[in-house]
């Protein structure tokens, strides 16, 4: 027993080294995908995030028609960068709703005035609680929701021009 105890620090350390080796040689996945892809949306109801758009609840996204759900914030620079692509998606007929993260209504108004407003509904998620429930880890992120309110696709990061056709295809497939 005592013999084992004496070797305990060494064994503990060997365990740590093993852990380090595992950690160093693992494939480096930088993208955290939501476990909710393929699952129904969690239930939520958010107040309006902009002065000229209604708020957003999970039932608004289960109307029989597929939606895009864009997670953004007025303080987020990549969100401004993806604004033209969202407007292009809207042009192409996509229905886009949004959740503004840790934001204030005047700021969102200013953001939409400056970068354009592709959204039908905007919910205000002041404490990121809905964002977390959705399994989203940052802004911007965009979810494709089918007519029954199920998440079918998650796009992480800003939508670039080359992503637009792919997202439209996902929307069509969700019909």
């Amino acid at each position: 027993m005592k013999r084992l105890l004496i070797w305990l620090p060494f064994l503990l350390f060997a365990g740590f080294v093993l852990l380090f080796v595992l950690g160093m040689f693992k494939p480096d996945d930088r993208v955290i995908t939501s476990k909710l892809v393929g699952q129904p949306l969690p239930a939520f109801a958010l107040p309006a995030g902009a002065s000229d758009r209604p708020g957003l609840s999970s039932t608004d996204l289960a109307t029989g028609e597929p939606h895009l759900l864009n997670i953004f914030a007025s303080w987020c620079v990549p969100c401004a960068a993806e604004a033209p692509q969202l407007l292009a998606l809207k042009q192409a007929g996509a229905k886009i709703d949004a959740i503004a993260i840790r934001d204030a209504r005047p700021d969102v108004d200013g953001f939409l005035k400056r970068w354009g407003n592709p959204y039908d509904r905007i919910g205000l998620d002041a404490r990121s609680s809905v964002q977390l429930a959705l399994g989203s880890s940052g802004v911007p992120e965009t979810f494709v929701i089918d007519g029954k309110g199920r998440i079918v696709h998650q796009h992480i990061g800003d939508i670039r021009e080359e992503n637009v056709p792919e997202i439209l295809a996902k929307l069509r497939a969700a019909r």
């Binding site: 350390f13 740590f16 380090f20």
Partner: protein, 643 residues
């Protein structure tokens, strides 16, 4: 030429380290006295060469020699001189050179000044120090050469990360490294003692000043780093439980435990194996911390550039040194005879409790830091943040503080619980009064942990000065003063931490020039936004006046933009008053000429760092006090011989 000379000095130092190890090895195994005679001069030469290499690198940065890859990547000719020089250690290669320099210099100091240690143990210690140094020389020379040239050389450098362009950088990393790497001496002492079977009170007495010195510097380095992060990052926090911070906290926790157990071993010849173990653990934590920070293993979800070869290299060094020392411990611990026994109620028991609690905190911080790795190995990704650390470490730290209050009031060897109870009566009374006062003033408005923190701090403050009670202050030994001041520093620091989290008032406002912001008794007049230019940056500066009690002071928070590399930083405006700090950050421009302004009033937050300085000061007094005894004894011996 300078770069080549630096590289040559480094190679030479590495060769001398090998020689030093060989001399010790063959000298001890074959009892060749002439070999052992040469160990000390070699250690001195090795240390001097590392200093030369480091000074040459500083010279290259000073001259902005862009033909050196490291200078080109981290400096810029337009940078102020102070940051050119500080840039030497503001990068991976330079800081690793600082690492081996501290190690070499520490070895040199042990060779020159260590007199108390038994000779064979002293030699073995120097051998161990050389062996560790060799690994890090290899790391520098094969995987992180600071003197590599660029051909052709670029017209100018890429500049230093603006966050690092701060006077804090000039002093914080060298101080921290001196402490961090200074613990290598304790590690070598432990290895030397295990190899020669000299784990005893003399070993602890000889090791203690080195540990104290490293610990003082580590304390100062952590304190300075915390303040630096506080004012430079502009987030208003003073500790973020970031892996880099934890990497410096873990060796400090181990060194604090070691300091106390070494005292038990030196005074009462107890806790032999435990003390040796802690000496190994303290520097191991320095190495593990460096590995975690440098390999990028923990920051892999962030987009930091990391080099897996370097990580692998440090991991191999870790495995060899820590694994080797722990195996040596297991193999040789039988030769460590059991030390003296002690009573359940005694100073020794208190110090054992102190050690256990410190080690538990160390373990929890280690697990929290490695948690992302642990869970990832099991297939899912989670990382723990400040709430975990605050909630888990906080309560144990408070228990530790209570032990700290009672420990110095307990006698060595044997004491009675009733007597100890009597001695802690006044501090306990103060804590009760503090509880009542706080309950009346702030019941329900502050959290449980800050509440307990404030109450404990009040009790511990009184308890920590109690050992001076009824003593002639001038005749009290200096190291007792050291203990009193260091413990008082803990109470002061705790009070600052608790006051900050209990009473901080935060306000976020969108204001335009002409507006007035009011918060926590302060009136902030926002007069204007003016653009200003510095050496290598431009800034938008808010001209504000902060007013309280009829006194008005101008403050100027800035949003700075650096050109090389193009980055923005926030320069918070700090206004220090006796009862706290006003902390103002200028954020981004909102719409219609309004600016985001973040204002914090942080009551007594400065006590956190004042406490840190007191702790370090206590360490210095203890060090001087212990050493002075040695000097006086030596002086008397000489007098006696002369007479």
């Amino acid at each position: 030429m300078i770069a080549e000379a630096g590289l040559a000095a480094l190679w030479l130092a590495a060769a001398l380290a090998l020689l030093q190890l060989a001399f010790v090895w063959f000298g001890l195994t074959t009892d060749k006295e002439d070999l052992l005679q040469s160990v000390r001069p070699v250690a001195v030469a090795q240390g001097a060469l590392t200093l030369v290499a480091f000074l040459l690198l500083i010279l290259l940065f000073w001259q902005s020699d862009m033909s050196v890859a490291l200078v080109a990547a981290n400096s810029h000719s337009m940078k102020p001189l102070l940051y050119k020089i500080a840039g030497t250690w503001g990068n991976h290669e330079g800081s690793m050179l600082l690492w081996v320099t501290v190690m070499g210099a520490a070895g040199m100091a042990v060779a020159l000044f260590e007199r108390a240690l038994e000779r064979r143990a002293h030699m073995a210690t120097l051998g161990a120090q050389a062996a560790i140094s060799m690994g890090f020389y290899a790391f520098l020379l094969f995987a992180s050469n600071p003197f590599a040239r660029l051909n052709p050389s670029p017209p100018d450098g890429q500049g230093l990360n603006p966050l690092l362009q701060d006077p804090g950088l000039a002093f914080h990393p060298p101080t921290l490294y001196l402490g961090y790497v200074g613990l290598s001496v304790a590690f070598s002492f432990a290895v030397g003692a295990l190899l020669t079977g000299q784990v005893n009170a003399a070993f602890a007495k000889a090791m203690r000043p080195w540990v104290l010195g490293a610990w003082v510097l580590l304390t100062l380095g952590i304190t300075a780093g915390s303040y630096w992060a506080y004012y430079e990052l502009g987030w208003g926090g003073w500790w973020f439980w970031d892996p880099v911070e934890n990497a410096s906290l873990m060796p400090w926790l181990a060194a604090t435990a070691l300091l106390h157990s070494a005292t038990v071993l030196a005074t009462r010849d107890a806790l032999r194996a435990w003390t040796v173990m802690l000496a190994v653990v303290a520097f191991s934590m320095s190495m593990v911390g460096t590995f975690l920070v440098r390999s990028g293993i923990l920051t892999s979800v962030h987009a930091f550039a990391v080099d897996p070869t370097r990580g692998t290299f440090i991991l191999i060094l870790l495995a060899i040194y820590i694994g080797g020392a722990l195996a040596l411990f297991a193999l040789r611990v039988d030769s460590v005879r059991e030390g003296a026994q002690f009573d359940p109620v005694s100073r020794e028991t208190m110090l054992v409790l102190n050690n256990l609690l410190l080690v538990v905190i160390l373990g929890l911080v280690l697990i929290g830091t490695l948690y992302p790795l642990l869970t990832e190995a099991m297939g899912y990704k989670v990382s723990v943040g400040p709430p975990y650390f605050d909630r888990i470490v906080g309560p144990i730290a408070i228990i530790l503080m209570i032990v700290l209050a009672a420990g110095p009031l307990t006698r060595w060897r044997r004491d009675s619980a009733a007597a100890v109870g009597k001695r802690v009566l006044i501090p306990a009374g103060v804590a009760v009064i503090a509880t009542l006062v706080l309950a009346v003033l702030a019941w329900g408005r502050i959290g449980v942990l800050p509440f307990l923190g404030l109450v404990t701090a009040a009790g511990v403050a009184v308890a920590s000065i109690a050992p001076l009670w009824k003593r002639k202050l001038l005749r009290t030994p200096l190291f007792t003063w050291g203990m009193v001041i260091a413990h008082l520093g803990c109470a002061v620091s705790l009070a600052g931490m608790a006051a900050d989290s209990a009473f901080t008032v935060e306000k976020l406002a969108a204001a335009k020039p002409g507006d007035v912001i009011q918060t926590a008794g302060w009136t902030l007049r926002f007069d204007a936004i003016t653009p200003i230019a510095g050496d290598n940056w431009t800034a938008l500066q808010a001209d504000m006046r902060a007013e309280r009690g009829g006194r008005s002071t101008a403050i100027h928070p800035q949003a700075r933009f650096f050109t090389t590399p193009p980055t923005g930083t926030t320069e918070a405006a700090l206004l220090t008053r006796w009862d706290g700090q006003l902390y103002v950050v200028l954020g981004q421009e909102a719409d219609q000429g309004r600016w985001q302004v973040r204002v914090w009033w942080k009551p007594f937050v400065t006590l956190i760092w004042l406490g840190g300085i007191l702790i370090a000061l206590g360490g210095v007094l203890a060090l001087v006090g212990r050493e002075r005894r040695g000097w006086i004894a030596k002086f008397r011996r000489r007098e006696a011989m002369a007479a």
